[in-house]
Symmetry: C2
Subunit: 475 residues, 2 copies
């Protein structure tokens, strides 16, 4: 299921990218782990069942004075540790604002399981929806407010990628709870009828093309080269040997797996195209797309020469340290259980993906909603609701939104579904040409491009402004 | 359960008040009856079950041009016929706007039963929540848009009382679906922590006091008079006879019933205190509070003289036509099944009611949330969620709301929980001194006070303005 693969890349791109803490000077991140009892179902009264939502909290800098804010990370699809240690921006500015720092875990991830060990069983997954998550956070914030003598602190929500979508939606749906939102790399418009399905792959292609048109052209040409050579058993054997595949190519399904892997690698490289080395399953150099393209940028290649150069390029991803004995293409994410995000992608988060092989560097693949619906039903017995996000959050008609910063890096393929223009006077777009996926939320680094530094300064200024308005607007 | 009685008055005050069509010249109201398949649960994916939501539609005036609006009544707690024939304002202005007229029925009322005949069973009531209702309407509107070649018509929602709350909340939560809302007599602030519990009874008392302070004072004094005389069996017999009670007073519980009945009558009289005769279970004269007060306004009475005068007054309510053989106080609403509204009042619509006998004309009754919660749990096995409405819709912090008219009549006790000041530039309050409960939404009548006429003109002007902005704001 090509689309699920792409969606998986989205999910894991967010989660795994962050597994290893950055080497920011603000380390270590210190927090208490707490749990909050919240309803499994906030929107009906059929059951009073509750579960424990995990959250991390640090009140070192907090002053319980009226203007002292709550900085609240709207956790996304992964264990909350990941986000706590990789959203350095929140930690760095908290002292200046005397802010309470909170990282809330998304239900059905990490240790926040509505049905305990049985949360993944098909019948129990139904309460995994963005609406329920937002209410978890609304109730948690109300509780946190109640622990202060002041009880009406400004609340600033932060989130990256799907977490950024949740941040923006929090402010859109619950403006009485949330004063403002920093929604980084949040593709809230990557849904049916809002963004053409080929947009992601087009922007992804550009991330390679700006290194060199030869690089993206060589990737585009590589699919035929792979298909041609693997057409025969001899060719399969050659490629298996030349690429040092851990598991040799035997049947056409193996070839498809290899190509799926490559597709994911390209998306991941673009998402983590950070200026400094970072860890993502395997360690990566700074600007990994540039390093990747090194062997593909001189000229347009073909046949075995092309495949040889591509192998060198891909080695950056799976073998940057030179310690891999073979190339394991079976899955880029073998350690990840993607049940939860795939369920979301099959119910509410329907993000259409396709490619045409012309404006992008991928094999042509159409988006077929019917086929997608069928495989989702087969997998989860769930009906896709491709319009639900539009109905709930307004789609492109969000001119009433306020106090949101939508930031997008133009190196990030997800910027294709992001908000790249101001939608109202105070719901504004920040475009960061030299940034990949939510680089702006990470801890500052000497290698940060100047436009990321400027963006963060703008966020600080804007947050101050929101806080100064908070009490005037809240009666 | 005193509070439930008050809530019941609220519910039936909306519903029953409108049972008999007005004698407006715009009669008859002609519509097609249609049904729309909608999900029982919009916020989780546990079940794909749907049910048929009933709605009425009239497209006589509709032009499928971009600026031709959809006028959508957000049905409240009763069969939708009631609202269709008693919201004459929508019908009267529809030709001018070339509007599509739609009246949508609230789930669990009329013929819109999520579980058919079994919808009232305790286990099936859980999906009776405002969140679910709003999404029913959002999806119905999306469907109606899809039936037009234009598909992006401005949508104006209308509602009175709880229906007005739904209208305001529709615009607040779904501004991409709804262009503007006329929320008449909508007590969106009659919830915990927003309005003091005695406010309703204080304003209700004022409606009688402005006829004559003697009138409200005599009502206040009557409780002791009733208590005193019914303290003995002889007294009970005397009152049963003097008041021609259908069922004589035997025990103290009967006396409580009689007093509950009186409480409800006073609230109902104030709500339907219209300038012209209207029908409400029994026919009522124009300005029924004035007529009621006639025998109580001359002087402050006591004992049997007071009770005799009160009987004459109450006769306006139960025997205006003079055809009642006896005074049936067992319930003012015996024909009404109040299971559904009482369930709402026990889950989400927790509206605190109390009286102090000083600023109001009622026997002192405290509001006790704990007792209320216990009786709700005993009745429905449901936990009250007194903060849910605040979390969902922002409580008093709605400065981000836009394009809403909150209208309130100062003769209406529910104005105590209404929005009586502008909350933003375009979410504005309209105060109608001479109006009772949502008189403004009724068909025009020669007896209408000039401030109601002015209010309706303002609505027309504002709706035109909203429509002219619609396409500019919707990209």
């Amino acid at each position: 299921m090509a689309k699920a693969k792409n969606l998986l890349a989205f999910a894991t791109g967010l989660t795994l990218l962050l597994l290893v803490p950055s080497s920011s000077p603000a380390d270590p991140y210190v927090y208490k782990t707490l749990y909050f009892d919240t309803l499994v179902d906030h929107f009906s009264f059929s059951s009073n069942a509750t579960f424990k939502l995990r959250y991390f909290i640090n009140d070192t800098y907090w002053s319980q004075k009226p203007n002292s804010p709550i900085f609240f990370y709207t956790g996304n699809e992964g264990p909350i540790e990941t986000f706590a240690v990789n959203t350095g921006f929140m930690w760095e500015i908290a002292p200046d604002f005397k802010a309470l720092i909170v990282f809330a875990e998304h239900r059905y991830y990490g240790k926040s399981m509505p049905f305990g060990d049985k949360s993944k069983e098909a019948g129990n997954l139904g309460y995994l929806s963005s609406s329920q998550v937002l209410m978890d956070y609304v109730e948690l914030i109300a509780y946190l407010q109640s622990t202060s003598s002041h009880s009406n602190h400004p609340v600033i929500v932060f989130g990256g990628s799907y977490g950024g979508m949740l941040s923006a939606w929090m402010r859109i749906k619950y403006p009485a709870t949330v004063t403002g939102a920093i929604a980084s790399s949040a593709p809230i418009w990557y849904f049916t009828g809002m963004t053409p399905c080929e947009a992601f792959n087009r922007v992804l292609t550009n991330a390679f093309k700006i290194e060199s048109p030869h690089c993206s052209n060589n990737i585009r040409r590589s699919w035929d080269a792979i298909n041609d050579i693997t057409n025969t058993d001899d060719g399969k054997a050659w490629l298996s040997s030349a690429w040092k595949l851990c598991s040799p190519l035997k049947k056409s399904d193996d070839v498809n797996k290899l190509k799926d892997y490559l597709n994911e690698v390209y998306a991941n490289l673009a998402e983590v195209n950070y200026p400094y080395p970072s860890n993502f399953l395997a360690p990566l150099p700074g600007y990994p797309v540039k390093v990747f393209c090194k062997s593909l940028k001189k000229e347009e290649l073909e046949g075995k020469k092309l495949l040889g150069a591509l192998f060198n390029a891909v080695s950056v991803y799976f073998n940057y340290t030179g310690t891999a004995h073979c190339f394991n293409y079976s899955s880029a994410f073998t350690t990840i259980d993607d049940t939860m995000w795939n369920y979301q992608a099959c119910s509410e988060m329907i993000m259409p993906m396709c490619s045409d092989g012309k404006t992008d560097m991928f094999e042509p693949r159409k988006w077929n909603l019917t086929d997608y619906a069928i495989s989702c039903y087969q997998g989860y017995k769930v009906n896709i609701q491709p319009n639900l996000v539009k109905y709930l959050y307004g789609g492109k008609h969000i001119s009433t939104a306020s106090n949101i910063i939508f930031s997008n890096g133009l190196l990030d393929p997800w910027s294709s579904g992001g908000v790249l223009r101001n939608v109202s006077e105070t719901a504004v777009a920040v475009i960061i040409p030299d940034s990949a996926h939510h680089l702006d939320l990470r801890a500052s680094n000497p290698m940060d491009p100047v436009d990321v530094i400027n963006a963060r300064n703008f966020y600080r200024y804007t947050i101050h402004h929101w806080i100064s308005q908070h009490h005037r607007l809240h009666l």
